[in-house]
């Protein structure tokens, strides 16, 4: 079953066209990754899916329903959560308050239990729960951003460059967490610069270039694709 189906979206910033007809699909229970150089339109794609920017043309379907043009909070309700580029921690609120905000729309009785589980899964957050979000390190902030998004119990989790600016050990930890999230049943769409590691955990991948999808295919095929090896894996894979 398809969780997400994006068809031909074109998104503009004023007169600048950032997306020139992007189409992609995400299957239930899979990890799909979007690769591409700086400025290719990855973040714009994620923001458009999450409702932060409205596409000029094209449609976005979520679980078979047309959700194009809905507000971000309406999409959260439907089950889409975004961990944006740069994490977007509420720096003037405590770690605990950030987590509370993650479950903002939920009124069910399991919020407390989910909070406990999250604190167990991320002991560093438990240790710092009364500390202001802005005082966490980059890696801790990324953990907090992911934990916060999970508290909304999304059906589709959007991650925009979760490994950006983190030390290799933390990057490995983040990828491990993404894998766990998938194993727990949440579908994941993740933007990454770290092409090799992303393709290793992903099932499917898309490559964006100047606002268009130029290559897509099964992650394990992309890992071998000479065009990708040259442009994105090249030197890194030899290290």
């Amino acid at each position: 079953m398809k969780v997400l189906k994006v068809s031909g979206i074109e998104t503009f910033y004023g007169k600048i066209q950032a997306l020139k007809g992007v189409s992609l699909e995400v299957e239930q229970g899979k990890i799909v990754t979007i690769l591409g150089a700086n400025g290719a339109g990855k973040t714009t794609t994620m923001k458009t899916i999450a409702g932060l920017i409205k596409p000029k043309t094209g449609t976005i379907e979520f679980l078979g329903e047309n959700v194009t043009g809905l507000r971000p909070d309406q999409l959260v309700k439907k089950g889409i959560s975004l961990v944006p580029e740069g994490r977007a921690i509420l720096s003037g609120m405590t770690v605990m308050e950030n987590l509370d905000m993650g479950a903002y729309q939920r009124k069910d009785k399991e919020v407390e239990k989910d909070l406990e589980d999250v604190l167990k899964r991320f002991p560093i957050l438990k240790e710092r729960k009364n500390q202001l979000g802005g005082t966490l390190s980059g890696g801790q902030q990324q953990m907090l951003a992911i934990a916060r998004a999970l508290l909304a119990r999304p059906k589709l989790l959007l991650l925009d460059e979760p490994s950006m600016g983190l030390a290799p050990l933390i990057v490995a930890e983040i990828f491990k967490i993404i894998k766990e999230i998938k194993d727990a049943g949440t579908t994941v769409l993740v933007v990454e610069q770290n092409a090799k590691q992303a393709l290793k955990i992903a099932d499917y991948g898309y490559v964006l270039e100047t606002g268009k999808v130029i290559i897509h295919g099964k992650a394990k095929d992309l890992l071998e694709d000479p065009r990708i090896v040259e442009a994105y894996l090249g030197r890194k894979s030899e290290k």
Binding site: D73, K77, P84, S91, D100
Partner: protein, 294 residues
């Protein structure tokens, strides 16, 4: 008597704090100075005059009526003067400020029209009741004003730090996009903020009527400018700063009038700002940057 003056200063300061809180909430969430806040406050005061003097109803009804009227004014301000300008491409960031100035002039003219120019007496059954401790005289109305202000400030602080909606307001103030991807309907929060801030202005209007027994259509402008001064003093968008700034200004003004030259009363606020900003550009409680939303 110094003690008496301190009591006067605290009474006045607590009203200033309530006005400044209205400014600071709107600034925090929308990143704009609401220049119509002073006039909304003035409308609250006139509603008080109507209810107590014209209708002869008790003071608590004046509070209720002022809250309702100013909340509606706040809603209309946001719905018709601010929302249409938001998120539009090519709209100057100064546009909402100009828009609120327009509303402030409209409200002032309207009050001239509705209530007439000049001072209007504000009747209050217990205006003259006072008692003396030793050599100092304390008016019951001062205690009432102080208690109402403190309760209001405590309730607001509690609401902001503990409730779901209060946290959503803080999240929206910090970053609109982040709040929205967490599921906050930020448009609703913005409306709520402007309505709440305006209602607090309305309450302050009644408090000023009680404190000075007189109300006029120009009081909006001077109170508006002082409120603005206070939030710059306390740190833009900062709740604690607004409270402390209000008290400081109230005390400073009262003491200047008592021991200095009363002609400088209204200049104090602005002198204080200049001095503070030279020493602490971000205000007393402000963060390093005071530019509002990035």
């Amino acid at each position: 008597m110094l003690l008496e003056q301190l009591i006067n200063g605290i009474t006045l300061g607590s009203i200033y704090a309530i006005v400044a809180l209205g400014f600071t909430l709107v600034f925090g969430v929308l990143g704009i100075i609401n220049m119509a806040h002073g006039e909304i406050f003035m409308f609250g005061a006139f509603v008080g005059v109507m209810v107590t003097s014209t209708l002869g109803w008790p003071i608590w009804m004046a509070f209720l009526a002022a809250i309702i009227v100013t909340a509606i004014l706040g809603y209309m301000l946001e719905r018709f003067a601010l929302r249409p300008l938001r998120g539009k491409k090519g709209v100057s960031h100064l546009a909402p400020l100009i828009s609120t100035i327009g509303v402030s002039i409209l409200l002032e003219n309207l009050s001239h029209h509705l209530f007439g120019a000049g001072n209007h007496p504000f009747k209050n059954a217990f205006a003259e009741i006072h008692f003396t401790i030793g050599s100092i005289t304390i008016y019951v109305v001062q205690i009432v004003i102080f208690v109402i202000s403190v309760v209001l400030m405590m309730a607001l602080s509690y609401w902001l730090s503990k409730t779901r909606a209060g946290k959503a307001l803080r999240a929206t103030a910090e970053n609109l996009d982040t709040a929205s991807i967490l599921g906050v309907n930020t448009r609703q929060i913005i409306t709520l903020t402007v309505v709440m801030a305006s209602a607090m202005g309305g309450i302050a209007g009644i408090l000023v009527g009680m404190a000075f027994n007189s109300v006029n259509p120009q009081m909006g402008l001077s109170m508006g400018l002082k409120g603005l001064a206070i939030i710059i003093l306390g740190g833009m968008g900062n709740v604690k700063g607004a409270m402390a700034g209000g008290l400081i200004l109230g005390l400073a003004e009262t003491l200047i009038v008592a021991y200095g030259d009363s002609g400088y009363r209204d200049a104090i606020a602005f002198l204080a700002i200049i001095v503070i900003l030279l020493i602490r550009p971000q205000g007393l409680f402000g963060q390093k940057t005071s530019e509002g939303r990035p």
